[in-house]
């Protein structure tokens, strides 16, 4: 009976060593600097394993922490996760409550982790839709970690890309409006021309403006759509669809995705440069 835990320990150590070796080999080639992930399949995972729905989301959160750790080992600086969409508010109130509670616990855990690790945490989305407690917790964590740059974790919550585009257009309009009002009032603009909104103005007001565009976007549960996640930022991004539910995402699937990215790297890099 005592040998079982020992053999399991040895197996875990060997598995970790093999993983670190494979990661070291991977790093010989071009590596993505930003990975985004759609955490799909938590409920399906719970149903298949005869767990309650909440347990599926707990397993998903654990898988996300493992993923962040793997990305840290691989030297990937930016990780973005689609935790909660504005569309998800249409789910059952108990499920929404569970996800909010999980978010509260994650903020508390990340606050502890970031006291000793230089991890910047950013929350992207319309945070006004969160409760005041969650919103304040998220903002405090963002402020406390704003100076860190070794690794940047972005949690997209109350996020939709179409909402992000609209928000960015609104902010750009308001900025130009105020500038136009100032110029009109002070009569400084001799030509009387109005400043136009450019693509640069729109991009600087995006929720995701703190990170570069993703190199890889992973969606689990064998789905092949973006579901209103980062379609603006993924013009030249490798889209990967994995046939496993998110809680089952492991280092081997991540390795496969990165190898796939390395195969297409020259093509995607050329496309980005052309733009």
């Amino acid at each position: 009976m005592e040998s079982e835990p020992l053999s399991r320990k040895i197996f875990t150590v060997c598995k970790t060593l093999v993983r670190k070796l494979v990661f070291r080999v991977l790093r010989t080639g071009p590596m993505p600097s930003h990975i985004a992930v759609i955490m799909d399949g938590n409920r399906r995972y719970a149903k298949r394993n005869r767990l309650n729905e909440g347990a599926g989301h707990d397993a998903g959160a654990m898988a996300l922490f493992y993923l962040i750790n793997y990305c840290y080992e691989l030297g990937i600086k930016y990780i973005t996760a689609y935790a909660f969409s504005t569309d998800n508010f249409r789910r059952k109130p108990q499920e929404v409550g569970k996800i909010m509670s999980l978010l509260r616990e994650s903020i508390a855990l990340l606050t502890k982790i970031t006291k000793n690790q230089p991890v910047r945490v950013h929350f992207a989305g319309n945070l006004e839709l969160l409760s005041a407690e969650l919103r304040d917790g998220a903002r405090k964590l963002m402020e406390a970690t704003a100076e860190y740059s070794k690794i940047v974790v972005t949690i997209c919550v109350c996020y939709c890309c179409s909402d992000e585009i609209l928000h960015s257009v609104e902010q750009s309009c308001l900025q130009k409006y105020y500038k136009h009002s100032y110029v009109r009032d002070s009569h400084d603009d001799e030509n009387g021309e109005r400043d136009v909104i450019t693509l640069v103005d729109i991009e600087k007001h995006m929720y995701m403006a703190v990170t570069p565009d993703p190199d890889i976007l992973i969606r689990t549960a064998h789905e092949h759509r973006l579901s209103n996640f980062l379609q603006w930022q993924t013009s030249y991004c490798q889209l990967a669809s994995l046939p496993v539910d998110f809680p089952e995402l492991n280092s081997w699937q991540l390795t496969w995705v990165i190898l796939d990215f390395q195969r297409s790297y020259k093509y995607l890099a050329r496309k980005k440069l052309q733009r």
């Binding site: 409006y177 379609q231 603006w232």
Partner: protein, 255 residues
């Protein structure tokens, strides 16, 4: 001194050999990946051949009515292969899909639009239709040609349209934090600048990588995306398989 020099030399050669071994391992991993893709490619080619011949019963009846609007993204370097593009469109039309959007990043297809339209009797250019909701009811074929300038740059132009309207509305700009534009206003503004169009149900990507190459972000929120490989390797069977796969998908739209 001699010992520390020997230690440095040892370290140098250890690192060098280590790097060579890592490089060789990396190439070995990629060779394995290449073999895996080659094998699956052979299997897909065989499956595609069987589907084209109608030998796989499952693909014989497609619920084409589920696809109201199909988008095809083509890598710009392949977009000049007009004969391949026309062949692909003929396959799509033969399956019963009449409303198609063709996208390539650099607008090469826009330059060939007259040549492509000539090959299809009665086909009309999307921009010639006035209302989006009438478009999908048209019995004849409609073709839309889209490029990168209809994506992000169009959003910037639409933002200027909204800015003009906002200024003309006499707003004071004091409603900080409140939403001042709606989704439908944004869609209208995009139509005004000539980049409005329905959201496709399915996007087929013909290119070396699974990447949408800047397809208009406002129009692909819940669109299914299928990667079909390079245009020169396109197969009729793969097209049917992609459409069949789409017709079996069930979306929750976040619920």
């Amino acid at each position: 001194m001699d010992f520390s020099r020997k230690k440095r030399m040892l370290r140098f050669w250890t690192d060098k050999i280590g790097n060579i071994l890592l490089r060789m391992s990396w190439h070995l991993l990629h060779a394995i990946i290449y073999l895996c893709y080659f094998t699956t490619g052979m299997v897909h080619a065989l499956e595609s051949h069987l589907i084209s011949r109608g030998l796989l019963r499952r693909y014989k009846s497609l619920h084409i009515s589920k696809i109201n609007y199909l988008a095809i993204v083509i890598e710009s370097e392949d977009a000049c292969r007009t004969s391949n593009v026309i062949q692909l469109l003929q396959w799509v039309v033969a399956l019963g899909i009449n409303h198609i959007c063709l996208y390539d990043n650099e607008g090469i297809l826009k330059k060939s639009k007259d040549l492509i339209l000539d090959k299809f009797d009665g086909a009309i250019l999307f921009q010639d239709t006035h209302e989006d909701n009438i478009l999908l009811d048209q019995p004849c074929m409609t073709l839309e040609f889209v490029s990168f300038s209809d994506g992000k740059e169009a959003v910037a132009r639409a933002a200027n349209v909204l800015l003009m309207k906002y200024i003309k509305s006499g707003a004071t700009g004091s409603n900080q934090g409140e939403q001042i534009f709606t989704d439908s206003q944004m869609s209208e503004a995009l139509k005004t600048v000539g980049s409005g169009g329905p959201e496709p149900d399915l996007i087929l990507i013909y290119g070396p990588a699974r990447c949408h190459l800047g397809f208009p972000a406002w129009r692909m929120r819940y669109t299914e995306i299928q990667h079909m490989g390079p245009l020169k390797s396109m197969e009729y069977g793969s097209l049917i398989k992609a459409i069949y796969r789409f017709t079996t998908v069930r979306q929750n739209y976040g619920k």
